[in-house]
């Protein structure tokens, strides 16, 4: 019933094949598609946002260099995900070698998914800005009309596909597409002043 992963994988296969034939632009498209996921993943290991972005960048470059060995046995994202995790771990190892007093080592990094606060190296300013943003998002969600709030919650919390949400809410799938988009847009609108003029990053 849920064909989301297949849709995404088909596109990835096409883009990877293009890169393997020498089309560098296709790799840009893969970067655009997955940059937020990889940055969020690396950020679980390395809490400093700017360091996390550097490591994520390194992971993408490594992936590009290794793409000739990618044979499609696993999905592209699964393969990229492994590269990103290894790059983050190597970065932490190198950093702990440089600074022997560094409190967090690679063993801690292994546990980081279960204990996100373990490497919380954010600056107080960043922490405050993050809290302010989360509060704004929660407030924006509370102001949404019921049907939009339900649609976005079913998507984000329950991970339901649009088809499943349409069934649950007894409405056409097109309505679900529109409700989720409008919910995101409403939240983004409330967030925009903070991102433009606030202290975030």
């Amino acid at each position: 019933m849920n064909n989301q992963p297949r849709i995404s994988e088909q596109l990835d296969e096409e883009l990877v094949a293009r890169v393997q034939r020498g089309d560098k632009k296709a790799f840009d498209m893969l970067v655009i598609k997955y940059q937020h996921k990889i940055i969020q993943l690396v950020n679980r290991y390395i809490k400093d946002p700017s360091e996390a972005q550097d490591v994520a960048q390194e992971a993408f470059i490594k992936a590009y260099r290794a793409l000739d060995s990618f044979r499609g046995d696993a999905a592209f994202y699964t393969w990229l995900y492994r590269i990103a995790i290894n790059t983050a771990k190597n970065y932490l190892q190198a950093r702990s070698r440089r600074n022997t007093n560094f409190e967090v080592d690679i063993q801690d990094a292994e546990k980081v998914e279960n204990a996100p606060q373990l490497q919380d190296l954010e600056s107080p300013d960043n922490h405050l800005a993050n809290e302010q943003i989360i509060e704004t998002i929660k407030h924006a969600i509370s102001l949404l009309p019921d049907e939009m709030r339900t649609a976005i919650m079913l998507r984000e919390f329950e991970g339901l596909s649009y088809e499943e949400i349409a069934e649950a809410m007894d409405c056409p799938i097109g309505t679900v597409r529109s409700r989720i988009f409008r919910a995101r847009e409403a939240i983004d609108e409330k967030l925009n002043p903070l991102l433009t003029h606030g202290e975030f990053r």
């Binding site: 596109l11 498209m29 655009i32 470059i61 943003i133 984000e156 967030l191």
Partner: protein, 181 residues
């Protein structure tokens, strides 16, 4: 950036955008930073709802990688060929033809054996004539029950029914029937 494009971005984030449309959108995003920035903001909102952590990618993140990739050597892997069916066309046809010839020759040999001919003749003798069948039908009310069943079975079954003959050969299906007439 119009709402239609923004809605597509939202669908791409959820893996709900069909491949051709997603491909077009990503192509546009390469030249339109606003699309990438919208995708990153929606993704950050989505992550924040789920995990209370707002992580926003830099707007020039993909552009930085693109610049670095430009310095990398080009991939020129040999194109993977689809297995060509034409390569196997003639051997397949030859094999099929040979198989048909062998089966046909084998079949003819069997049909022409004296045993088979005898069996077929016997089977033909045992099969009632259509006229006999019609006559039997017209008299069926006067016949005993066994005889009616016998006629019915003969009319509705390809088997040959005999009254105890036992020298039938293979290739003829034989069902013994105790005729008490």
């Amino acid at each position: 950036m119009n709402n239609e494009l923004k809605q597509q971005v939202s669908e791409l984030l959820d893996n709900e955008l069909a491949s051709p449309a997603a491909f077009d959108l990503l192509q546009k995003a390469r030249h339109n930073p606003e699309i990438t920035s919208t995708l990153n903001r929606y993704a950050a909102i989505s992550q924040a709802i789920k995990s209370d952590a707002f992580i926003l990618a830099d707007n020039d993140f993909s552009a930085r990688i693109a610049r670095q990739i430009e310095q990398e050597p080009l991939y020129l892997l040999p194109q993977r060929k689809q297995p060509s069916l034409r390569r196997y066309q003639w051997p397949a046809m030859a094999a099929s033809l040979a198989a048909v010839l062998v089966l046909a020759a084998h079949g003819l040999d069997k049909i022409n054996t004296p045993e088979t001919n005898a069996s077929l003749q016997l089977a033909q003798k045992a099969t009632p004539e259509p006229t006999k069948q019609a006559a039997a039908n017209s008299e069926q009310t006067e016949q005993p029950l066994n005889a009616r069943i016998y006629d019915y079975l003969q009319a509705h079954n390809n088997s040959v029914y005999t009254s105890g003959e036992s020298d039938f050969k293979p290739l003829v299906k034989v069902t013994s029937y105790a005729n008490r007439r």
